[in-house]
């Protein structure tokens, strides 16, 4: 058996250069310190993306966009063998993926892993997060149930509140004045063609950068002399631990999908009034609540415009952090960037919690 395996490996190695890859993986090391735990979150985000891709392809076999959207999801959930499981795993993995990316982003921020030479890693990661949120938003409408219909309606009010082009952009995405079957068609195209076409190359670029620059050290580790720093080989040590984390993630996903299968709810009806307390998904709750707060503070549409402008400014500042927190030494700028990170995290947690409390 071993000789068969060795022959196959040798045959492939002669054509693909597997030994070179193996040597590279064995040579590569991962720092070991108190913050090593946070290195796993990028891999976890990737794992949930792979689950998304796999279950998404399976859902494509049965899903029918347009007027039959709801009926096809109903069939997947209630008629097709294990359709409910695939759909639940897809929906839960989407949420877990965005959660994992958020955790990854904040850990990268606080470890200052955006500094030279990793600026493009930070920017590509931010691009992946934003695309993931659009993935989530577009996928949310596809079942065309009551909740998705009204949540999308509310969600599209956010871009519509942008000055100048906002209303036109929202109308273009909707395919009309209101959310309808054309919106589903457009969201479907966005979800399965346009977004993957943007996401996959960006993901490849991000992973290449991670491979090129390796794992960043947190500032307190960087201050230590080289001899005092500990590392572990990427292969097999870190790789095995990474796989263990994936296994844990798979179990959590299976637990959630089995015990709390994703509900479908009633079919969307534009003539019905919106259910009370309608709200977007948790990862949009912060921006939704900020808009609401400013809407209450300032009269008319100006509140939403001010809220949106502040939110956009904050996001731009966040994205550009590698350009103004450049020094490796812990000076005032580095401290200010850390305070900015804590402030952003605080605002995110407080406004999200506030949003959920407000709809209770």
């Amino acid at each position: 058996m071993k000789s068969v395996f060795a022959s196959v490996f040798n045959w492939m190695d002669a054509r693909l250069g597997l030994q070179d890859l193996l040597h590279l993986a064995q040579k590569k090391t991962v720092p070991v310190h108190r913050q090593t735990f946070w290195y796993y979150w990028g891999g976890l985000s990737l794992f949930f993306f792979l689950v998304q891709a796999f279950t998404g392809v399976l859902l494509l076999l049965y899903y029918r966009p347009g007027p039959e959207a709801y009926e096809s999801v109903r069939q997947i959930s209630f008629d097709t063998n294990f359709g409910w499981l695939i759909r639940s795993a897809h929906s839960w993995a989407a949420n877990l993926m965005i959660l994992a990316i958020f955790i990854h982003m904040f850990s990268v921020f606080f470890m200052k892993a955006y500094r030279q030479p990793r600026e493009f890693g930070w920017w590509s990661g931010m691009g992946l997060l934003l695309l993931s949120m659009v993935f989530g938003f577009s996928g949310y409408l596809l079942p065309m149930n009551e909740l998705a219909f009204f949540a999308t309606k509310v969600g599209l009010e956010i871009p519509a509140s942008f000055p100048l082009l906002g209303a036109k952009m929202a109308s273009l995405v909707r395919g009309g004045l209101d959310v309808n079957e054309y919106t589903v068609q457009r969201f479907f195209a966005l979800h399965v063609v346009i977004l993957p076409a943007l996401f996959l190359p960006l993901l490849g670029f991000h992973l290449w950068l991670v491979q090129k620059h390796g794992n960043a050290l947190p500032p307190e580790e960087e201050d230590k002399p080289e001899a005092q720093r500990r590392t572990m080989p990427f292969f097999p040590n870190f790789f095995a631990k990474d796989l263990a984390m994936w296994l844990i993630a798979l179990n959590i996903l299976a637990l959630l999908a089995s015990l709390f299968p994703w509900e479908l709810g009633p079919i969307a009806d534009s003539l019905k009034p919106a259910p009370k307390g309608i709200h977007p998904e948790w990862y949009f709750m912060s921006s939704f609540q900020v808009l609401k707060i400013f809407g209450q503070w300032f009269p008319g549409a100006s509140g939403e415009v001010i809220g949106m402008t502040l939110f956009t400014l904050g996001l731009v500042l966040w994205i550009l952090v590698p350009l103004y927190d450049t020094s490796r030494k812990s000076g005032e700028r580095a401290r200010n960037a850390t305070y900015f990170g804590l402030l952003a995290l605080g605002i995110l947690v407080v406004t999200t919690t506030w949003g959920y409390l407000a709809i209770r």
Binding site: F78, F82, N145, A240, L255, G265, A274, H279
Partner: protein, 470 residues
């Protein structure tokens, strides 16, 4: 009805049994498997003159004694208290049929507890060979408690046709052995023994993981690998044992596993399938974690790894117990007594004479009070008002008329009724059925009124509540 009803809000009385039972099984099966682990490991250590092994084993024996002798024993008694309160009729049937079986089990139980204490407290104080023999006495007596109790537990899934033919005739005790060695006895015993050996290994891994792999590399490697081997019989034979078990389970019960394959509809008893999937998932993960972390890298096998395996074992055990309990539906004793304590043969009589006629526990003369008594007597065994299998959510959106139609389906209990595979018939006169309908409608309207009074209720909850009521 000779007994009061045990109304446990939110989780239901069944989950009180469930929570105690899951906790108990993690310990009691360790008590059996660990009972073999200790003398076998001690004998090996003595044979190979390994004092370092003996020191670790003594610590493991102390942990074993405290866990099994205190927490295991107390939770075991807790189960019997809980089942007596939850389903007194079923408990009464068990006692009447298996009183001598229980007496025998208690004899072994007392030997088990005594020898466990003797084993730990005589460590290093009596001749080594004699100490190992004490361990073996413990191991055999604890195995025999399982051999006995397994007969009683499997009886509840399906007592077998021979016993069922005499059920209610007063001759049941004459068919003790038929009831005891019922169709699922042997596969269930095999499965439980495999779980015992696996849990012996898992708990031992917890003890071994606390060794410092750098200071005691050789010792830790040997002990972790030796403990990991205890999971091998379970890995290898469990699929076969499970197939044997399912083959022996009556087809009507086996089919319950398939209800959730195509649907996740609320009220369609789909959770058994989902729970069964979890058993496969967590068991597969235990295999991988133990192989890659305990067997391949024993020196690095940490306490966190061991706790993770233990937690996975807990999920697998909990899922297994839930699935086993759920497979009995709609009975609590297969084909003899429904899950609400009504005997199968009594249904026709209760429909004629009334369910509440002999009830000492009806809360009042008015119709709603009668409806509540019906609810407590016939629904509460499996449902709660507002949390676990909640009536308020299962019936949400239904009118009084629609509730009446559902109750009629349950009362008529026709062969093609979709509820027949997992719900008991609704027994009682038409007036009693109407009273139950009124009570349920009032309960739902209270729910709807509360929702109306709280207009800011999250839409997500409202939407999911309304979606797929049966």
């Amino acid at each position: 009805m000779n007994y009061p009803f045990w109304d446990v809000p939110h989780i239901g009385s069944g989950w009180v049994i469930g929570l105690i039972a899951i906790y108990h099984i993690m310990i009691s099966h360790f008590a059996v498997g660990g009972g073999f682990y200790l003398p076998m490991a001690e004998a090996k250590a003595l044979r190979e003159n390994r004092k370092d092994w003996l020191d670790i084993l003594q610590k493991h024996a102390r942990f074993f004694l405290i866990l099994t002798g205190v927490f295991g024993a107390v939770s075991g008694v807790g189960i019997w208290f809980a089942i007596g309160l939850t389903n007194p009729e079923a408990t009464s049937t068990l006692i009447h049929n298996f009183v001598f079986g229980w007496a025998i089990e208690w004899v072994f139980f007392i030997i088990e507890l005594s020898t466990a204490a003797v084993y730990y407290y005589t460590w290093g104080r009596i001749p080594k060979e004699l100490h190992v023999k004490v361990g073996w006495v413990y191991a055999i007596s604890s195995l025999l408690t399982l051999v006995i109790i397994n007969g009683i537990l499997t009886f509840m899934l399906f007592p077998g046709n021979t016993w069922l033919q005499v059920a209610g005739s007063g001759q049941e005790a004459h068919y003790f052995w038929n009831a005891f060695f019922n169709p699922t006895y042997w596969p269930s015993l095999l499965m439980r023994i495999l779980v015992c050996t696996a849990l012996a290994g898992i708990w031992a891994l917890v003890t071994c993981s606390r060794l410092d792999g750098r200071l005691h590399a050789k010792l830790k490697t040997e002990l972790v690998r030796w403990s990991a081997k205890w999971l091998v019989p379970s890995f290898a034979l469990m699929p076969l044992a499970l197939a044997f078990y399912l083959w022996q389970v009556p087809e009507s019960q086996r089919s319950l596993l398939q209800l959730g394959m195509s649907t996740m509809g609320t009220g369609a008893f789909t959770q058994v399938t989902r729970i069964a999937l979890l058993i496969i998932m967590t068991s597969g993960t235990i295999v991988l974690v133990v192989y890659f972390f305990a067997w391949r890298t024993p020196e690095d096998f940490s306490f966190a790894h061991a706790i993770a395996v233990l937690f996975l074992g807990l999920v697998a055990t909990a899922s297994g117990e839930y699935a086993r309990e759920a497979l009995r539906k709609p009975y609590v004793i297969g084909r003899h007594m429904f899950s609400n304590g009504i005997r199968v043969r009594d249904v026709a009589r209760l429909n004629q004479e009334g369910f509440l006629t002999k009830s000492l526990w009806t809360t009042g003369p008015d119709k709603l009070a009668q409806g509540e008594a019906m609810f407590r007597g016939q629904c509460l065994a499996c449902h709660t008002r507002d949390a676990y299998r909640p009536m308020k959510i299962l019936l949400a959106g239904r009118t009084r008329e629609s509730i009446g139609s559902l109750l009629k389906i349950l009362h008529d209990y026709k062969p093609d009724s979709p509820y027949r595979s997992f719900m008991p018939p609704l027994a009682g006169t038409q007036a009693e059925v109407d009273a139950l309908g009124d009570f349920l409608a009032a309960m739902i309207s209270t729910n709807q009124t509360a929702a109306a009074e709280n207009p800011a209720k999250p839409a997500k909850v409202a939407a999911s509540s309304a979606k797929s009521a049966p």
